[in-house]
């Protein structure tokens, strides 16, 4: 009887000890949001998988070191769906401000990021500016120049200007017989539109190509006969398509029907995904795209495998989300956040994270070192991939 009582007491003590340990386990909370519905759902699913996998990896290696020297477990709040809608994206972030989340990773869409950054405080310490003081480190929204909107907005997305400039230069060197470029642009989508008019067209011109013109269509168009006839008439050496997979595939299939074959097709960064390979693997064969991710390094392969375990695919967007988690861990440790959950401490930690992000000159990326620019953007290493046999393969690695 006595022995039994001792055993029960020991069991109770151990339960109490475990409970005490759990109660004392510190956490730092981050949030993530983007698209998880509609045609861009895959972007959100992949980012969510990459973030969850990266957070697991951070915790496996001990978590985040706090100002008092203790370690905290990083937790990520459930991924929130903004439906690629500006109002919903703003509502999501307003809701997050009221939680203990220290920072958010997102959004997916540039048309969400632009107005969302607009509701953040523009200049830090401006007493007249009542904008939200909440740091956001974007993984996907890629339209050029957005982070300069607010000093609380940061991005770890590839620099399309650099990438397309490099691509056209490389093509000029390796394929000197190609002289002319024609554009195809999804005119009603912020990223596609900006990518053609501000990036591809300008970079092609700057590299000595003759830009013959452009054909336009809309995001949910299904008939591309007129546009393909325009392309056929222009007869360009290079066709640069600034569109997402659905219309890119529609255009490529119409080109096949009309027998239009430019010598080379250049695609939009976001098209170097599995979606294109599901929609039109045969027609996309040979298309070249600059990408800030390919599983070419040990770290990149590892990140890709871990994300796959969470049922996500590794691409330039989801792997930026993976990198963001590690950037945040580094910043939290360097900025010596307290990890306390009272509102004043949470806000103080947010500010420390913002300042830490702003102070970064470089970050560790999966393809090498990512440079940080003064306007809170990233300048990431890249490779050129091409569609081959239903997969994206590295065509040229300038690293």
């Amino acid at each position: 009887m006595k022995r039994m009582a001792l055993a029960v007491a020991a069991a109770l003590a151990s339960i109490g000890f475990a409970g005490n340990t759990l109660a004392q386990e510190k956490t730092v909370s981050i949030a993530a949001f983007g698209v998880k519905s509609g045609v861009l759902r895959l972007f959100g699913l992949n980012s969510e998988a990459a973030i969850n996998a990266a957070v697991e990896e951070v915790n496996r290696s001990g978590g985040v070191k706090l100002a008092d020297g203790s370690k905290a477990k990083m937790v990520v709040q459930p991924y929130l769906d903004d439906r690629c809608n500006a109002e919903e994206g703003i509502a999501v972030v307003r809701r997050l401000v009221g939680t203990d989340a220290l920072v958010a990773i997102g959004p997916t869409c540039s048309n969400v990021a632009e107005p969302l950054y607009g509701i953040l405080q523009k200049k830090v310490d401006d007493p007249k500016d009542t904008g939200l003081q909440f740091p956001i480190l974007t993984d996907v929204a890629i339209k050029v120049g957005l982070a300069q909107i607010s000093e609380w907005s940061f991005r770890n997305v590839p620099n399309e200007n650099t990438m397309y400039s490099s691509l056209y230069y490389w093509l000029k060197t390796t394929r000197p017989e190609l002289k002319t470029v024609y554009g195809g642009v999804e005119e009603d989508f912020a990223h596609s539109r900006a990518s053609w008019h501000v990036v591809m067209k300008e970079r092609a011109n700057a590299n000595g190509y003759t830009v013959l013109g452009e054909s336009k269509w809309l995001l949910n168009d299904t008939n591309f006969s007129t546009q393909v006839r325009e392309i056929k008439k222009a007869n360009p050496d290079i066709l640069s398509i600034a569109a997402h997979p659905f219309t890119t595939c529609g255009l490529l299939k119409e080109m096949e029907r009309q027998g239009v074959k430019p010598k080379l097709i250049v695609g939009l960064t976001s098209t170097s995904s599995q979606e294109t390979m599901q929609g039109c693997p045969k027609q996309a064969e040979g298309m070249i795209i600059p990408s800030s991710f390919a599983p070419v390094s040990k770290e990149a392969k590892f990140a890709s495998e871990q994300t796959a375990k969470k049922k996500g695919a590794a691409d330039l967007h989801s792997m930026a989300a993976w990198e963001n988690v590690f950037i945040l861990k580094e910043v939290m440790e360097q900025a010596k956040i307290s990890g306390k959950t009272d509102p004043a401490s949470v806000q103080a930690d947010r500010r420390k994270i913002r300042d830490g992000l702003a102070a970064l000159k470089t970050t560790k990326g999966l393809l090498g070192t990512n440079k940080r620019t003064a306007d809170r953007e990233a300048d990431k290493p890249y490779v050129f991939v091409h569609a081959k046999g239903g997969n994206w393969q590295v065509l040229y690695n300038p690293l």
């Binding site: 045609v39 759902r41 995001l219 029907r257």
Partner: protein, 292 residues
């Protein structure tokens, strides 16, 4: 001038896809005087189910996928009838309208969920390049779509005017109470109408996806809008009207695009719809009567 003519031909041919969807919308309206907003979405859903079923059979041809789409179309059509019309008080027009809107959104979300929003490669019915007539080129697959539209129209008219079922359907459409008093089983007739339009929707969904080359929920929204416009302009309940209006909208779209650019194209299509609603509310095939 040649570019203009080619654009018109391209548009008219692509308008065949609008015609096919318009026929489904107009049939349900003709029989039940109800708008089934989920029609285009369910048609694409049937096409997707057909694609999934076809993928289970190694080496299945495009025709097998279309066969499955047809069958699923019939099943889904019946389900839509049961859920959105039979279980909901049919006299409450707003309730049935809203239930079909709900069904549209539900089917969209289901397709999004299963495809993760990614476009799916859809087999082409006619694997060949465009036919050349001098400088003019014509898409062979759209000619097939046009022929299917015409055959569907003929089959529908034969069904309506040459069979006992058609007689019962017309009786229910004109006087449901009197038809019931004559011993016609109104519920059965309505259910069969939905199955028939569902079968047609299955074909339409598969042909539209085949014509576009990919299946995506991005198709359902514009197709629903175009289907409704075609139904209104063709004349609510008129099958030949739906075909002609579909071709007309397809051609006009490309004309507007040719002269005003892609960003203004849909603006003029909508203005055309309003013009019809104001000046000829019964559509092309309506008897000349006032909008009141």
């Amino acid at each position: 001038m040649f570019d203009f003519l080619q654009a018109v031909v391209d548009g008219i041919l692509f308008g065949t896809t609008y015609s096919l969807i318009g026929i489904g919308f107009t049939l349900v309206f003709g029989v039940m005087h109800k708008i089934n907003m989920s029609y285009a979405s369910v048609s694409i859903g049937a096409a997707y189910a057909g694609l999934l079923a076809g993928s289970l059979i190694p080496g299945a041809s495009a025709w097998v996928v279309f066969g499955f789409a047809l069958a699923f179309g019939g099943v889904f059509g019946y389900l839509v009838y049961i859920i959105c019309f039979h279980l909901i008080p049919i006299r409450n027009e707003n309730a049935t309208l809203m239930s079909t809107v709900g069904m549209l959104l539900l089917v969209d979300e289901l397709i999004t969920h299963f495809t993760t929003g990614s476009p799916q490669n859809y087999p082409s019915m006619v694997e060949m390049q465009n036919l050349q007539f001098g400088e003019m080129s014509v898409r062979p697959d759209l000619i097939v779509v046009f022929m299917v539209s015409v055959v569907s129209m003929a089959a529908m008219l034969a069904l309506l005017y040459r069979t006992r079922l058609g007689l019962a359907t017309r009786a229910v459409a004109q006087q449901p109470v009197a038809a019931q008093l004559c011993g016609i089983r109104v519920v059965r007739v309505n259910a069969i109408t939905f199955i028939v339009t569902g079968l047609l929707g299955g074909i339409a969904g598969a042909l539209v996806c085949s014509a576009v080359g990919t299946l995506s929920i991005l198709i359902t929204g514009p197709l629903t809008v175009k289907g409704l416009i075609v139904t209104v302009i063709g004349g609510l309940g008129s099958v030949p009207g739906a075909i002609i209006a579909g071709l007309m909208i397809g051609g006009l779209e490309n004309i507007f695009q040719h002269f005003r650019g892609v960003t203004e194209r849909d603006l003029y299509v909508m203005l055309l719809l309003f013009a019809f609603l104001i000046f000829r509310p019964g559509g092309i095939f309506a008897a000349g009567r006032g909008r009141d």
